[in-house]
């Protein structure tokens, strides 16, 4: 849908160049634009802090906001992407509708804009990895749904428990991968069937596909953490005297890095080792304040979870994992008939799991589509800016 609508804007860039030839230089408009850009960023990113309660539920006892959405939930990630999309649109407007496009072929923009193109391409790879991560979460969700439905009926019986246990093992193994394993260890048969050989492995061990075995589009040695680092390379704060367009390009690069980083932190991605250190968000800049705080909070969460071979910070995933762990414990100790309080506990966890699953199910589809939309917008935006940029280069250096 977006694709069709977007196609129309194709040659708008040329128009602005036209206009720019006629109009005299008005550097002030850029300053205005920049102020507006700053304001937009604050407006879009601060609700991400205020509207979503931080989840301090280390026992999985979340008290989510009225809407049911916690900090780092799927809904939160979508809000983050919304914020990004707005910023990107604003940036395009600032850059393409600018009065003085001769600037973009002069230093530092003549380098910064190609650098931005480069960052965008790298971000596209991040989007793809994240799309794939969402797919992995979906697998986890389906397994969790099996657990929830197996434990719907009380009293619990051996058969149900076994069914749940199989699925629980799959829930816990579906995402957790050895992130430091660069893929070398992975064998094609990532789940093997041992039951007929020696009889040692039972049917109870569920040979569920895991994250890596399902991987499609991500190259073997690709590392999300390194990619984030690469996106942020050469991203320098402009000096005071630098033109306001340069400021905008810088800000866009910053926002891009931050959003990609946050997304990678939330959603499972291949090789995230060292992700905690890779975001150079500038301190002491008014417009970046909310981003600063967000980064700190996410960074803290990351540090906490990183050691555990994390499957990401996404609230729902964290909850599912916690519930799955305690349910695994409960089911492992199961005997029939269950003591009443144990049974009640298990039932409560199962109900909670069912609830998280419902929210996940509602959230994942839109999230996946939105990640794709970000992808498409980045592609489109890059194409538009590139067109103007190339044109400006030809225009300003006819010899080329």
């Amino acid at each position: 849908m977006w694709a069709g609508a977007e196609n129309q804007g194709n040659f708008l860039g040329r128009i602005s160049i036209r206009r720019n030839q006629v109009a005299s230089m008005e550097p002030d408009t850029h300053v205005e634009d920049l102020d507006q850009f700053h304001k937009l960023i604050s407006d879009k990113f601060s609700p991400l802090l205020t509207d979503y309660p931080h989840h301090h539920d280390h026992d999985g006892d979340a008290t989510p906001s009225a809407a049911g959405d916690a900090f780092l939930s799927a809904a939160w990630v979508r809000k983050l992407l919304d914020a990004f999309v707005s910023c990107e649109a604003e940036f395009r407007a600032v850059l393409l509708n600018g009065r003085d496009l001769t600037q973009i072929v002069k230093p530092p923009l003549d380098r910064w804009i190609p650098d931005l193109f480069d960052r965008v391409v790298k971000a596209l790879d991040v989007c793809n990895a994240v799309t794939h991560g969402v797919e992995a979460i979906r697998f986890m969700l389906h397994q969790a749904q099996i657990v929830a439905s197996a434990l719907e009926q009380r009293p619990f019986t051996e058969g149900q428990i076994r069914r749940a246990r199989r699925a629980l093992a799959a829930v816990l193994s579906s995402i957790v991968v050895d992130e430091r394993d660069g893929g070398g260890k992975t064998t094609e048969r990532s789940w093997s069937f041992g039951r007929r050989g020696g009889g040692a492995s039972s049917k109870e061990r569920h040979h569920a596909p895991n994250f890596r075995s399902l991987s499609w589009s991500v190259a073997k040695n690709w590392s999300a953490a390194k990619q984030i680092q690469a996106i942020s390379s050469n991203l320098y704060t402009p000096r005071g005297g630098e033109c306001s367009l340069a400021q905008s390009v810088y800000i866009m690069g910053m926002v891009l890095v931050f959003v990609m980083w946050a997304m990678v932190a939330c959603i499972p991605c291949q090789d995230r080792a060292g992700l905690g250190t890779h975001v150079p968000v500038p301190k002491n800049l008014g417009w970046a304040q909310s981003i600063n705080v967000l980064q700190e909070k996410i960074g803290e969460e990351w540090k906490k979870k990183e050691k555990k071979g994390s499957s990401g910070l996404m609230d729902e995933v964290v909850k599912v994992e916690k519930l799955a762990q305690s349910l695994t414990e409960l089911t492992d100790n199961f005997h029939y008939p269950m003591e009443e309080d144990k049974e009640a506990e298990m039932a409560a966890k199962a109900a909670k799991l069912a609830e998280v699953c419902r929210r996940m199910e509602d959230g994942l589809g839109p999230l996946q589509r939105q990640v794709r939309e970000v992808f498409n917008r980045l592609v489109k935006g890059r194409a538009d800016v590139l067109e103007v940029f190339d044109h400006a280069i030809k225009h300003c250096n006819p010899s080329v």
Partner: protein, 679 residues
């Protein structure tokens, strides 16, 4: 190995003999083998529970039977058929009960039934080589029927309030169902995984394993053999598919749809992934594509195209067949295929997107267009396999947006070509009147572009629509002004966008060559004639007519420029001084004629006019002028030379030589000349 069951066994099931029964009871009593398997499980505690409940029911079952002294057959165990019949009666009774508040009496046959199924299921789990689903159809049917009864019982019993009367039975039934389901799920995986093995190495496997068939008389086999060649999906025979279907439908009807679908999706994804890898497509990030040299990238693009075609033409339609075959519910089938198609399509479009982003240069056009066309295939495969599923719309829009960007890339490449022709300013002529590289390049290029005529028409008309929308806002594109002037604009309305683009480029080329031809004089024009005739098929008639009249002009000027000087030598005027033929002038004339003719031969003997008509027209018209002139000149003045050495020195050519030399012109071989010279 995955043959149909030995006929004997399936026989047993339908008509259980005492032998089978005793076998069964042996198995029942041999609980040691059963518990041995369980004891080795990683989590011993819970399974022990399970075992105890099974044991409990086992013993209870036996005790029940023994206790029941009213029954005359206390020493004969009932057959599974008999028990099943009783269970069916119980199921009927349960389903007709309207009052669900009081738990029903559980018949003792339920215990027997449970024991019997358990021991049947054991065959799939224990021993050195446990059965797999699909190996023994009779046994499979037996278990599946029992499983269906079990899940019906569970559904019915769950409607009653839980109490101590029914709980043990319900628990046992659920456990049995779970056991059967785990086995089936795993066997479904195995079947799916086996079908993943590369078809190339395994293609002989099926026939080989069937070899003993011919010696084994079995009325079922020949038919099966025929059908085995009909594969539902590459690597999945009808037989395997039937086994999968059997498992899938049992699992789904027993409420294990989620497990079944998960296993299916996971393994089908792996299959696709593997197939894609086998076809030579490797995962490369979009970033890597941008940084790659053209040559390796070209290789990746070719691999990509191959894979996209394979997936579009073989794998996706095959997947549709397989899904439809396995899942009787169309919504399940649709979801399965949508899931897979989405992943594949996104994988493919990402790469295409990356290609559309790469540096644009003329040599890349054809690959870009190949990619564009391959995406057509993908779109129709998606339409074909998914129809109106919501994912299909999403994917269509994904693909069309990539295609529009590839189209823009193609248009840009043409723009660049226009610019490079415009900016190509050569200052020195190409030696020996060879075809100018720009001409050769451009014309070859345009000729190749015509292989993509349809695609380019599409690309350019889309582009034009975009342009026209914007033209309302802005006057025409900056640079394409002067050259595509009057004529092309007058005919613009009639012409397709791509033809228009071709014309623009050719006009540019014309203009450029006109410029350059000043460097080459006559030589260049001939080349130009040649090239113009080659492309005339691509453009409209009036353009062609215009060009051919121009061509005639070039023809004339070629004749004038090339042969005029030779003809001048043959002019009879000026030879006579005071009414007498002046021999030194005559010698001079012959000498320079020979020289000019040699020169023409040397430079033009390799020239080609590939248009046959034009070639013979040129030959005829040159001969028509040259031969009579030479013949009469020679006839009149040849006699002035002393026969012998002098004559031979000045008259190098006989009119026939000239004729055959002209006949040999423009056909691409200069042999005629050398032959003429030998004479």
């Amino acid at each position: 190995m995955k043959n149909s069951p030995p006929p004997g066994e399936s026989h047993n099931v339908k008509d259980p003999s005492s032998v089978t029964l005793s076998e069964k009871s042996v198995l029942l009593n041999k609980s040691s083998s059963f518990s041995a398997v369980h004891a080795e499980r990683p989590r011993p505690r819970a399974p022990r529970r399970a075992l105890s409940s099974v044991d409990e029911s086992c013993s209870r079952g036996t005790i029940d039977e023994d206790k029941e002294d009213g029954e005359p057959e206390c020493h004969r165990q009932p057959t599974l058929d008999e028990v099943s019949h009783e269970i069916d009666g119980f199921i009927d009774a349960l389903s007709s009960m309207e009052d669900k508040s009081n738990a029903p009496e559980i018949p003792k046959s339920l215990g027997t039934f449970a024991n019997m199924i358990q021991s049947e299921i054991d065959k799939y789990e224990s021993g050195d080589s446990p059965l797999k689903f699909g190996q023994d159809l009779g046994q499979d049917t037996l278990v599946i029927n029992a499983v269906n009864r079990t899940s019906k019982l569970i559904d019915l019993l769950e409607n009653f309030p839980s109490d101590n009367k029914i709980n043990p039975s319900l628990t046992l039934m659920i456990l049995i169902l779970q056991r059967a389901m785990s086995i089936m799920e795993e066997d479904l995986r195995v079947l799916l995984e086996d079908s993943m093995k590369p078809p190339s190495s395994d293609s002989n496997k099926t026939p080989k394993s069937n070899e003993p068939e011919s010696t084994e008389p079995d009325d079922q086999k020949p038919k099966e053999d025929k059908e085995e060649h009909k594969e539902i999906y590459p690597g999945i025979s009808l037989e395997t598919a039937n086994n999968m279907k059997m498992i899938a439908s049992t699992m789904i009807s027993a409420g294990y749809e989620a497990e079944c679908c998960m296993a299916y999706v996971a393994l089908r994804r792996s299959t696709f992934k593997k197939a894609i890898k086998q076809q030579g497509l490797h995962n490369i990030s979009m970033d890597e594509v941008q940084k790659m040299q053209w040559e390796p990238l070209e290789g990746h693009i070719s691999a990509w195209i191959k894979v996209v075609k394979h997936v579009s033409q073989v794998l996706l339609p095959g997947e549709r067949r397989l899904c439809e075959f396995l899942f009787s519910s169309s919504s399940i089938a649709d979801n399965m295929i949508a899931n897979l198609a989405r992943s594949v399509a996104i994988l493919f479009t990402n790469f295409a997107e990356a290609v559309a982003m790469t540096k644009r240069s003329a040599e890349r056009l054809f690959k870009v267009l190949d990619v564009y066309e391959a995406l057509n295939d993908l779109t129709s495969a998606i339409e074909g396999s998914m129809g109106s599923h919501e994912t299909a719309n999403e994917l269509r829009s994904e693909i069309s947006s990539v295609r529009s960007r590839l189209g823009e890339a193609a248009v840009c490449i043409f723009c660049d070509l226009e610019n490079s022709i415009k900016n190509d300013v050569a200052r020195t002529p190409v030696p020996n009147g060879a075809v100018h590289p720009l001409t050769r390049y451009t014309m070859n290029y345009l000729r190749y572009t015509c292989d993509f005529k349809q695609t380019l028409e599409e690309v350019f008309s889309l582009h034009r629509m975009t342009e026209q929308r914007l033209e309302r806002l802005e006057p025409r594109r900056d640079d394409s002004s002067n050259n595509s002037s009057n004529e092309s604009e007058s005919s613009a309305s009639k012409q397709t966008p791509f033809a228009l683009e071709l014309m623009t480029i050719m006009n540019l080329l014309d203009a450029n060559l006109e410029q350059k031809s000043k460097l080459y004089k006559d030589l260049y024009i001939l080349q130009k004639i040649k090239e113009s005739t080659e492309i005339h098929g691509l453009v409209e008639n009036d353009y062609r007519r215009r060009k051919s009249s121009e061509l005639r002009g070039y023809h004339k000027s070629y004749q004038r420029e090339t042969w005029g000087r030779a003809l001048q030598c043959l002019n009879q005027e000026g030879l006579q001084v005071n009414g007498k033929v002046h021999k030194p002038i005559l010698k001079d004339r012959f000498k320079s004629f020979n020289q000019i003719f040699d020169e023409i031969q040397r430079t033009q003997s390799s020239w080609v006019v590939s248009d046959e008509q034009l070639q013979s027209e040129l030959q005829v018209s040159i001969s028509a002028v040259m031969i009579p002139a030479y013949r009469s000149f020679l006839g009149r003045f040849g006699q002035y030379f002393t026969p012998g050495r002098q004559y031979e020195k000045y008259v190098k050519y006989q009119p026939e030589d000239i004729e055959s030399a002209i006949e040999g012109l423009f056909d691409g071989s200069n042999q005629n000349f050398s032959m003429a010279r030998r004479r």
